[in-house]
Symmetry: C2
Subunit: 351 residues, 2 copies
DNA sequence: ACGTAGTGTGGGAGCGCTCCCACAAGTGAT
DNA sequence: ATCACTTGTGGGAGCGCTCCCACACTACGT
């Protein structure tokens, strides 16, 4: 219970200076050992390490940040409200990936909400103060001023879900095109002939890509694309419901629906059920996101899974690269860094 | 585009000293203005504020932390894996509450995962270094050493979901007892006579309280508690399934089930369906958590809603109090601070 | 013998704040 | 006029690091 690497639970914490005294070396040497510099003899290093262990020394981050002018922390900015980001699979899975990848480093993770105006002003202050070494951006709209602000302040940033095909920021995305495509190919393989799609918000790049996948899958299978079978659902359940109603009115003979989110699929399912269509017998249904809703739907919903956790990991990798690149003022980033990760179709009973 | 509160987008940021020079005052005075001390004349304050605005001054957090020996940040510790915490309503809602309440302050939020051993060691280092002013603990098991560590280090902490009825830490909880009670009272009011319950993990205090509520609701209605109608489901879907199967075997004539989580309700629902029981006609079903699963179930599931966002807010309130109380070494906390927030029964079609 | 490179190492300077002591100036009682 | 406060202000000291220059000391050439 006594001392032994704990040294006065309530007393002052030991400083570099004290470790140096204990080890019989200078302050600079201890600093070198702590920071893993190679320019230290083995004997000295061992002595310092012993002193560190005996005193239970832990570096003072604030002092380090002040002296070295870096914070060793990155921020995950959540453009909060009403975003799909807060929905089930995204948030927790991405965080899991981010956390896992970060646990190998000394970096800490800050969570910043930028929903309200107040929060956004606060964020701007925050960034202006350079309180983080880098920023992770998620589900940012095309017209959001945040990326520009970051560029202006020269703060490294990585975005998940690029805003367009010519995203300037390093980005991580899942293969929305491939995801849409695989869903439709699956339906075709199952013998469906009149395949509709309920799309997401058309101002979201990823949603567009899913539609592209839908179109190309049909074309490549030699099918004609019937524009009447493409209806927007805005990523909401209610939107899905309305879209499905619309579709049933336009093309009563459809036999499959690809909803570009599980939530919209849930809405569509209700309408189908009310219309007396059986799933999957009369109409096959495929969703997107592989959320809890999909797993618990009746029947369980076939859905496109995105590797969200991996995306989180990839974002951290990119960001750390970006930060490292900027440290010595030489060698700018070689070029754009865009990562696209594959999706996976999870087949269940709805198709 | 020029200067004007932005001052060299890539140049050094202005310091207190520079603001002081600009305003024609001393360093101390600027510090006082920045920190809202009342001991500054109005004229001086105005001059300083003008200088701050002109230079676009933002305090350097690291320097402040070093000099004042506080970090202005708190950590939310997530004892990651397999926790129910990461499931739908909890994580995002609690974070929303925490974030909202924090946005009124200068405090920043750190997210720390403490799932693996490695992460836990890192966390211990982190706390030993006093890198946060306070800690938010969520879904901690009764035998977790973390609370003791925090006490030893004298780091203020608040726990959500007390570990037992004599939790020593300040805590925030929802009224699990009342929640369980209201679910059962609702079923009684609906004329159900043989009401079973599928419980959570028995080592979780909150789960116990829900069972207490179940028991008391029956007793107070003059019913007898049939122990055979109480089966543990461990908070998993599979557990819910097994428990339901067991229940059907023991008491084929039951006409209502209170599942102490939506996930278990989903498992129970499947078994009921396979057994040919109609919901709610033959068997009424009530869940707990009011998650997406409940909203999207077929039929939509009556469920007990916890005010998770408010819980997050309350946790921050408690923690900030705790931190403030500890600053001047006088006046210890007057006593235990335990907050219990009411739940709400959300009635849907399953009951 | 005398450079001429390395290696290790010590410690001064300084990062940008807060804390607090010293002190000037004003206010009101005696 | 004197004393005792109160109010406002300036600036020294110091928080615990990193950076970097200066200085041994060694090990080779020549």
């Amino acid at each position: 219970m006594a001392g032994h690497g704990t040294r006065g639970r309530s007393g002052r914490r030991p400083t570099l200076e004290e470790v140096a005294a204990r080890a019989g070396v200078g302050r600079g040497t201890v600093s070198r050992v702590i920071n893993g510099s190679p320019r230290v003899s083995d004997a000295t290093r061992a002595a310092v390490e012993a002193a560190v262990a005996e005193l239970g020394y832990v570096p003072n981050t604030a002092a380090r940040a002040l002296a070295a002018n870096r914070t060793d922390s990155i921020a995950l900015v959540v453009p909060e409200p009403e975003t799909r980001f807060f929905a089930e699979p995204y948030f927790s899975e991405m965080l899991r990936g981010v956390g896992a990848q970060l646990s190998d480093t000394e970096m800490q993770l800050l969570l910043i909400f930028a929903g309200s105006d107040r929060e956004r002003r606060r964020l701007a202050q925050y960034l202006a103060a350079h309180r983080v070494d880098g920023v992770l951006l998620v589900s940012v709209h095309a017209d959001d001023p945040l990326p520009d602000l970051l560029a202006q302040l020269e703060i490294p940033a990585v975005i998940s879900g690029p805003r367009s095909e010519r995203e300037t920021l390093p980005s991580v995305d899942s293969d929305n095109y491939g995801g849409g495509r695989s869903a439709v190919e699956h339906l075709i393989a199952r013998g469906r002939t009149r395949i509709a799609t309920i799309t997401g918000r058309l101002d979201v790049y990823g949603a567009q890509r899913r539609i592209d996948g839908y179109r190309d899958a049909l074309r490549d299978a030699g099918r004609e694309v019937d524009e009447a079978l493409i209806v927007p659902g805005g990523f909401t359940e209610d939107g899905g419901r309305r879209a499905m109603t619309e579709l049933l009115g336009r093309r009563p003979d459809l036999d499959a629906v690809f909803a570009e989110s599980d939530v919209m699929a849930a809405g569509a399912r209700k309408v189908l059920r009310e219309a007396g269509r059986r799933i999957p017998d009369d109409v096959a249904l495929v969703g997107y996101d592989d959320s809890a809703i999909a797993r618990h739907m009746d029947p369980p919903l076939t859905s496109v899974r995105q590797p969200i956790e991996e995306m989180g990991r990839a974002m951290i990798d990119l960001l750390l690269d970006e930060i490292a690149d900027r440290r010595p003022q030489v060698s700018r980033s070689p070029g754009r860094r865009q990562v696209v990760l594959p999706t996976e179709l999870v087949e269940r009973d709805s198709s």
